[in-house]
């Protein structure tokens, strides 16, 4: 049974305007990595924003464990059911790495006696050195910030992990390390990992590759075919 289901979903930024996504249907399962690929402007990031409930579809909906995410509390959904790794990391710049992670746990309502300890362990397991834990995140390198963003996204153990171009700004070595973490999340922790990417390496290592064709010329219902 799928964890997440996109049901006949369309999206346009303006009412009556050009549809970026039109009648999209797709299903996502636990323990798999999904790579959303396609040309720039095809609607990959838009689709990820919809999966994160950061915006609402024009038609159709998204279901997680059978529940329409747009009919519930979308804030709660983002704080508990889904972890998001943004392309630009979107960390809180005046906080250090530990504080960024602890805040996510606080928002998710994680009841732990020592959240700082848990955040520290998590960050260290993702390769953040002790010295960097208390530094403002803007002083960290891109790879380190990406790791902090990942730690933040998985700190409250959401079943779904969404990542937008997670390796777009990173070198090859760091990209591999990041991919190893995603692999662990999906195949060891059993998370559903959905990654928007242009990277052939990431697409190659994904369990399912979904190509989002440019929808501008489509006039009919589109079912995204799994491409393996």
């Amino acid at each position: 049974m799928s964890l997440m289901k996109i049901d006949n979903m369309s999206f346009a930024y303006n009412t009556g305007g050009r549809k970026i996504l039109e009648h999209v249907n797709a299903e996502f399962e636990e323990g798999k990595i999904y790579a959303l690929v396609g040309r720039s402007g095809a609607g990959k990031t838009t689709l990820l924003s919809l999966l994160a409930a950061l915006t609402s579809p024009s038609e159709g909906s998204i279901y997680v464990n059978g529940k329409d995410i747009f009919k519930g509390d979308t804030y709660r959904y983002r704080s508990s059911d889904v972890g998001i790794v943004f392309q630009n990391y979107n960390l809180l710049p005046k906080m250090n790495a530990v504080e960024n992670v602890v805040l996510s746990m606080d928002i998710a309502g994680i009841d732990l006696p020592d959240k700082k300890k848990r955040a520290t362990e998590l960050l260290e397991s993702l390769g953040i050195a002790e010295y960097d834990l208390k530094r403002p995140v803007l002083q960290l390198s891109g790879g380190q910030q990406q790791r902090v963003a990942m730690a933040r996204a998985i700190s409250y153990e959401p079943p779904i992990l969404l990542a937008d171009e997670p390796t777009g700004n990173l070198d090859e070595k760091t990209e591999k390390e990041i991919m190893r973490i995603f692999d662990d999340m999906a195949h060891r922790a059993g998370k559903c990992v959905i990654i928007v990417t242009h990277s052939k390496q990431i697409a190659a290592m994904a369990d399912v590759k979904i190509a989002i064709e440019d929808l501008n010329n489509r006039e009919f219902q589109m079912n995204i075919p799994p491409v393996s």
Partner: protein, 492 residues
């Protein structure tokens, strides 16, 4: 809990912003504390002064009502005189109102005008200081004034030390013997001494004469100004004033057809009794054309004028500060929210709902504001007394200068003057007058020792809450209007 913790941490993380916000709130709180303290000092001083003030009042005829308010035609002097005479309350009526529960004690005086057969009146050019403005004289005008007192209590110029017997003695209280005391000026001018007899005549009928024996000679000891201002019966500054018992005057009036104008004075235990008296009197049958007035209160209010002015300026200052301060805080908060737009977007993206984000911002504003208001309040309280006193001294100084510029008061109550005459003259007088039992201006300047009290603190807290509400409201509106996706996708 984490929202509060995060808010406190954010204050530390953004020291510059917090300090700037705090400074603005501090300035507002300090200014508000000073302004409120000045107002409080004025109110306290007024209330305390009134508590200690011995208040006397009298029933006076409201000439506007007596003439007819709607009348467009200006009445002639004779008509006004007629109205005034018709409106005089009899001694019986005056005594009737003295029985009301609000009255502590009652006394009365009568004044009449007379001419003399063998002595001359002291003219103003002879140094007698007989002054008087134009007005209605409800009695025939003679060269001398005879004032009759119902009791020693009525002779306020003696009891307050503005006059004293220098030769002989005062006539017996309530006596009906034709005995009197005269001023030393009049005695010297006419070579009169104790034991001499003065022959007086009715100014309307020179055939009607009466004799009074001089039993004492008095002199003015207080300032003439104080003598003139201390009450409606202070006629002692007129050297041609002949003082005697009311009973004696009444006897003379009966035998010689003199017009006697009787005026009652009611003494009250406190200010609330004074306030109660008028309504009690009207209920007891006093016509609406009469009002109750107190020279003591008028004088006291006049003394407080600088303090009241200061209080008014403080109020305007407070309002301006609050409006400007609130506007500055509003703008600062809006800029701050704009600056923190990205943070709002990230918090929303990771699942913190907007209400919680707004609450966090409000906690930050509230925490900084509370500290700033406390500091402003403490420093304001410590500086309020010297600042209030310095402002009062400056105001008092300018008030004194103003009175000198006017050349001082040029007034003197005449026995024939109406209450409206009194008012006209009082308006010209300086503020540097002393009401009975009331503190002099310098006294209340010295007495402002604690300006900020619980009331000020409470008001300051309310102002603080209002400022927090303004800034918090702006923060909330800012947080609510932003959409997380648009913030994150349009990040600079």
């Amino acid at each position: 809990m984490y929202i509060f913790r995060n808010a406190m941490a954010n204050i530390k993380r953004s020291k510059g912003r917090s300090v700037l916000f705090g400074i603005i709130v501090f300035i507002i709180a300090l200014s508000a504390c000073l302004a409120l303290s000045v107002r409080q000092a004025a109110e306290t001083t007024r209330a305390e002064g009134l508590k200690n003030l011995s208040i006397t009042g009298s029933i006076t005829l409201d000439m506007d009502k007596a003439i007819g308010e709607g009348s467009s035609k200006r009445p002639s002097k004779s008509e006004m005189k007629k109205n005034f005479q018709a409106g005089q309350l009899s001694l019986t009526e005056l005594k009737k109102y003295s029985k009301l529960s609000s009255v502590k004690s009652f006394y009365y005086t009568g004044t009449a005008s007379a001419n003399a057969a063998r002595i001359d009146a002291v003219s103003s050019s002879d140094g007698g200081g007989m002054m008087g403005g134009p007005g209605i004289r409800e009695q025939s005008s003679g060269d001398f004034t005879i004032t009759g007192y119902s009791s020693d209590e009525a002779m306020t110029q003696f009891s307050e030390g503005n006059a004293q017997i220098t030769k002989g003695k005062l006539f017996a209280e309530g006596t009906d013997e034709y005995t009197c005391v005269i001023s030393n000026t009049l005695a010297k001018y006419n070579d009169l001494s104790v034991g001499d007899t003065i022959k007086l005549t009715n100014p309307d009928d020179s055939g009607k004469t009466f004799k009074v024996r001089v039993v004492g000679i008095y002199k003015q000891t207080g300032s003439s100004q104080a003598g003139q201002q201390s009450g409606p019966h202070m006629t002692g500054s007129d050297p041609n004033n002949i003082l005697m018992s009311y009973n004696a005057l009444a006897g003379i009036a009966k035998n010689s057809d003199l017009d006697v104008y009787t005026r009652g004075t009611y003494s009250f235990a406190d200010y609330s009794s004074y306030q109660k008296f008028e309504s009690q009197a009207h209920k007891a049958g006093l016509d609406d054309k009469y009002t109750v007035e107190s020279q003591d209160i008028r004088n006291y209010e006049r003394q407080l004028a600088p303090l009241n002015n200061l209080s008014t300026y403080a109020w305007y200052f407070l309002m301006i500060m609050l409006v400007i301060g609130a506007a500055v805080l509003l703008i600062l908060t809006m800029f701050s929210i704009r600056e923190r737009k990205y943070e709002i977007g990230v918090l929303a993206a990771i699942g913190m709902n907007k209400n919680k984000t707004a609450r966090q911002f409000i906690y930050e504003i509230a925490a900084v504001s509370i500290v700033a208001i406390m500091l402003g309040g403490i420093i304001g309280s410590l500086t309020s007394v010297p600042v209030t006193n310095a402002l009062l001294s400056a105001t008092a100084g300018s008030a004194t200068e103003e009175s000198f510029d006017r050349g001082g008061p040029a007034n003197g109550e005449q026995p024939g003057q109406t209450p409206s005459d009194d008012e006209d003259q009082n308006d010209q007088s300086s503020s540097d007058v002393t009401a009975k039992g009331a503190p002099h201006m310098q006294d209340y300047i010295d007495s402002v020792t604690s300006a900020a009290n619980f009331t000020v603190t409470l008001k300051l807290m309310l102002i603080g809450l209002a400022l927090i509400a303004v800034s918090g409201g702006a923060a909330m509106a800012g947080v609510m209007k932003y959409d997380p996706l648009s913030i994150l996708t349009t990040r600079d």
